[in-house]
Amino acid sequence: MPVKLNLLPPELAVSKNLSQLLKALRAMGVIGVAAFLAFGIGIGVFIIFSTVSLNGINASITRLKAQVSSQQKSEQLIILLKDRIAKTASVQSMPGSLVNLQAIEPFLLGLSGSSYINQMSVGPESLTLSVNLKTNTDLSTFIKSCQGSDVFKSVNLTSFNLSPATGYSVEITALKK
């Protein structure tokens, strides 16, 4: 039967509890070194792969930049086109008188040749029309057109005169819708 012998001098002996603690510390040290090596190698590998990947992307960017630079004329044209389109849209959004003129046009084109426009002023927001109507038919057509139309926000009859020589003189003011 084997006999356990402790030949160490008694002053070098450590308590049982401390001995267990030291054993645990040594084991943690070994595990720590292994973990550190794994961590270091992992980070190193990641850095190498990332650097290679970054270099590849940068090379691709350099190649693409050269290709984009070779298409500079197209880019200039697109920028010019977009700028002019924006300016055109800006002009088209400005108020003009043509809308009001086109709105009143059907009222006037339906009149007979004997009736005529005495005076008409068309602006971007409103129009004033003074019209001479010779016949009752023209008068009723014109008034009905004004009543039945929804192209203007409002139509005000500002003046209405009857003269045996010139016929009916009607003046209206219409506001843009």
Partner: protein
Amino acid sequence: MNKLLKNLPESTRQTIVAAFPLFLVIIFFIFVGKYGISKVTDLRSQIKTAQNSETILTQKLNILQTISSTAESGARAASLAVPATNPSLIVVSQLRNLATGNGVIISAIKSTMGAASVAGLNQAIISFTVNGTREQIFKFLSSIDKIAPISLVDKIRMTEGGGVLQADIGIKTFWADFPKTIPPVTTPISDLTPAEKETLTKILGLIQPNFTEVTAAQGEVNPNPFGQ
């Protein structure tokens, strides 16, 4: 070091010797971890930025390659719609052509500078008088917004007598400086939006001005033009 350790009690000495590797590993973890993690974070951010630039450049190249044919014809028409210099003369020429086409007589044409530049747009006001029948004048006026350079009918004043309508008209025409710089190469570029495509279609549908190129006179060259 050894001398210092020898003077210590055995239990303390053995504790220090056992804990030293662990302590060293913790220190290494702290330093290597700090450097490594910052380097990894930095690389990841660089890769992300580079990937974004790569995506932007790829999209930009695709757009430039696909849009180039549209851009060329569109830019030419759009530059005539809103030119870089005062287009009054071209507009007057276009108005004369419209007047001839609609059978109306155009006269008293005047051009003045309009209001100060708004959003980079400069204005010129062209006023003129047209005479014709009611239908002709209305047709003529409706055609004004179909000409290039773009013009806006501002004021109309009409009187009629003897079957002839006379209209005093004021229109605004516009011009704007061309863009002077192009953005950096990595700035993204977008294709035309549906609204922009709609505006471009309208621009392409405008009546373009006719430019006549004057060629040099043919014939013998006088070798001594100042001689007798």
